[in-house]
Point group: C2
Chain length 477, copies 2
């Protein structure tokens, strides 16, 4: 009796098609090194995911102290913890049933923390009101995105629900769409102009999509993963106007909103821009915006804390959303606490403020410096071009591969960027992801590089990359 | 532009139909008391959910100490924490990328913790082998259940996927089925015989189901929520044989496996019994078994730690399951740690052992005592009958309501058990859930009572209930 027969072949193919050979090989190499095998390098450097702590960045002390005191309240008697840490932990415990982080919470999250999040949003957006009622806390923002996709594909209609997504894009969102059998409508970002979003392209994609499905939503990732770009206000306005005209639901993935590295760049939320576009638009365009404790300078991916804010949703739909949430049980309390601390960090004058701001600033400085060095080094390497890193945790350099390398890859039944990444891993121990995972224009090749790691590590990475790349290009020229 | 139009009316009705008036009223009353309003009671006693800490039970010290040290490793230098706590925390941190619980983990969970879980299962089942490869850690067992439902409804076929579920049952699972548009095939547990599962009834239900859908799975909750029963070995064998004959996938919800209160009762897992039924059956019947850190004596609901073990799944399906998991990102690390501690608790000789075992034993004793008192008191109350509590966190007493009460409820367009619970809440401050939420035989009425609370509280609850019930019966007789 096998259950496999029962599973739709469609879905089966989607997922079974490609094993993650790169990660498997990375793990093997790490094991080989541990068993004493000699390589040109001492360890595998994992630059494959957007994970600060994995990359060696230390957690923020304030965050961990509050968490420790919440989990083990005996620490509230401990003299070694700062006063504001204890005060915060005490306040949070009062919000938990039975005074314990071990109790279930409301499935949309603890009320007081939702309030904290909405106050943060109001401050961030220069006063645009936000209500806790529109905030939904989740076990990471990925869960919130999956939830919205599920909601969207339930819409009626004779044909499949379609969602517009950028190319390249955050791959796990694409998987969530596939998982829900939504139709994917790709729109191409313009690499040459710094991965900007072009309105003609968006229009083309929508009209193409309408021929095969029922497009209901537009997903934007701003700041961008894997592109490292950030949208201008003008571009956001254009997108909103487009959504209004075409009656599209906006999914604004803004998890990298606090990771902006240049003096001349500023993050503006979709919600803020929307609120300033005149009432016909500002009161009608439906928007879900996402943020996460995994990103920013806290980088608490393992706690699983994310939230979404819903804007302009019909009250009945909001009620329905709440009901649907209630079938999912609480988001993890640790993640909820992380969101509280992220959206209401220590203030000047608080005992924890000096250490806190020093720690945050040093991470910011580190990434800014890395951004410059990446730019410098990539400029020197023939056959790589890279749009400037303005925000987020990644760059997405373009590989101008010699035709022989491409031919050889095809012969090996492999994508050329995958081949490049596999060789890079094998020869230098660097684990980066091939562009194909995120989508890329046909016959263009990229890789995604995580940039939020120590300056020394980054320097090492860049030198290994440079040496490897030259050798690779020479071999195939 | 409203998105509501777009949502399938089917799903809309399912969820919008009933607001949770009972919880809303409970919150209102709590607020009224806080504002100084006088009532016959000083506080609302929440016996509505299966949440130890909410009910006032203290967390297990060892668990919280290890968690605190993992979140804030500076505590590893602290002399106040026992040696085995530090050792465990250190070991767990070594399993986290970058040595931080803030890193993403494998989406099926940390390998070492899966190993710990599988060793626990092997010990529990007297040596039946278990492989970490078949263990999937999740953000609570509810998530694992939802995941399996999703997997099951993807099966092909001209008609809807059906799942057999007991009546009464754990309501959130039913919601997960509705959420995935699975067809629900109810089978009635036999209240008069202690909520046992009757094979004729199961057969009847399956054949009835086959007329309208494609039944592929059978869900069992053992020990039972809300019934407090536990299945005999013979009954488990019958169910397994039935599953083999009818080619049904078994979903064994065993989250209350460690909550057994009588000397003469013992929990035996479906996996263990299956393994002892001869190779034609033991190597073919497909089984998913669920467990959780929320239940047992740890009661860490807020951490969100659950797992499932898959048995006899086709390797390709397992691979597919893993792929599907990978679109969901990590379960929260705090919940994973809780599972590690649950499945590998302190042993005799460990510094934490005395306190640990004392804490666990006192919770066990408390519930056992409550079970006896509940039995005694319900025997004295005319118009209530209650099957004995053998395991789990709940009893599900039957209300023999006078016809006038039923008539009056119908006139108020309310279910009689709901009316009863609302009055109980209003007059005594007790918040229990009406039987209708869990399913009950037509024209029978129940309520579900949480039993894992302090003896004094339970005594208070029983007295309030007794007084109220007598008054209620008199009023309507
Ligand atoms: C653009 C984007 N959105 C969402 C997420 C999900 O993050 P999480 O689920 O950890 O909040 C990620 C993670 O890498 C991301 O890059
Ligand atoms: C029978 C049963 N299964 C599963 C669950 C889900 O528990 P959790 O998701 O907290 O692990 C519960 C919770 O009450 C339950 O009673």
């Amino acid at each position: 009796m096998s259950f496999l027969r029962e599973i739709s072949p469609l879905v089966k193919n989607m997922f079974l098609s490609e094993r993650d050979v790169l990660s498997i090989r990375a793990a093997q190499i790490a094991a080989e090194i541990q068993q004493g095998e000699r390589k040109n390098y001492n360890e595998v450097l994992d630059l494959s995911s957007g994970d600060l702590h994995r990359g060696g960045i230390k957690p923020i002390t304030f965050v961990r102290q509050v968490l420790a005191a919440c989990f083990y309240p005996a620490l509230l008697e401990d003299d070694s913890l700062p006063f504001d840490v204890k005060q915060r932990a005490n306040g949070l415990l009062r919000q938990c049933d039975g005074g314990s982080v071990g109790s279930y919470t409301d499935s949309c999250g603890i009320g007081k923390i939702k309030q904290c999040v909405s106050q943060f949003i109001t401050r961030r957006d220069g006063g645009v009101p936000s209500s806790p009622d529109n905030i939904f806390l989740t076990s990471g923002s990925q869960m919130a995105l999956m939830f919205m996709v599920k909601l969207l594909v339930q819409s009626e209609g004779s044909c499949r629900t379609g969602v517009l997504i950028p190319v390249p894009t955050y791959a796990t969102f694409t998987e969530a769409l596939e998982d829900q059998r939504a139709a994917i409508i790709p729109y191409q970002l313009c690499e040459e102009q710094g991965w900007t979003l072009q309105m003609e392209e968006l229009r083309r994609a929508l009209h193409a999509g309408r021929r095969t499905c029922n497009p209901v939503a537009l997903y934007i990732c701003n700041p961008g993963n894997p592109t490292g770009h950030i949208q201008s206000r003008k571009s956001i306005e254009e997108v909103i106007r487009f959504a209004a005209e075409e009656r599209l639901f906006l999914l604004a993935d803004e998890v990298y909103q606090s990771c902006v590295y240049r003096e001349d760049t500023k993050f503006e939320s979709y919600k803020k821009v929307l609120s300033e576009m005149g009432s016909t638009i500002s009161s009608t365009v439906e928007l879900a915006s996402f943020n996460s404790a995994s990103k920013g300078f806290m980088g608490e991916c393992g706690l699983r804390g994310g939230y979404m804010e819903l804007v302009n949703l019909d009250p009945a739909v909001k009620e329905y959303t709440r009901k649907l949430f209630s079938t999912r049980s609480s988001p993890p309390v640790g993640g909820q606490i992380a969101l509280d601390l992220m959206t209401d960090p220590p203030k000047p004058g608080d005992p924890s403020f000096p250490t806190f701001s020093e720690e945050v600033q040093s991470i910011k400085n580190m990434i800014s410096k890395n951004a410059c060095r990446i730019q410098e080094v990539f400029c020197e390497i023939p056959g790589i071009s890279c749009q400037p890193l303005k925000a987020g945790f990644f760059v997405f350099p373009c590989l101008h591969l010699p035709p022989r390398a491409i031919k050889w890859a095809k012969k090996k039944q492999m994508e050329p960027d995958m081949l490049y990444c596999l060789h890079l891993l094998e020869e230098t121990g660097l684990h980066v992801r091939p562009g194909g995972e995120f989508g890329q224009r046909k016959d263009s090749y990229h890789f995604r590089l995580f940039v939020a790691t120590h300056e020394d590590t980054m320097e090492d990475v860049l030198q290994r990359l440079k040496t490897f790349h030259k050798r690779f290009m020479k071999e195939f020229s």
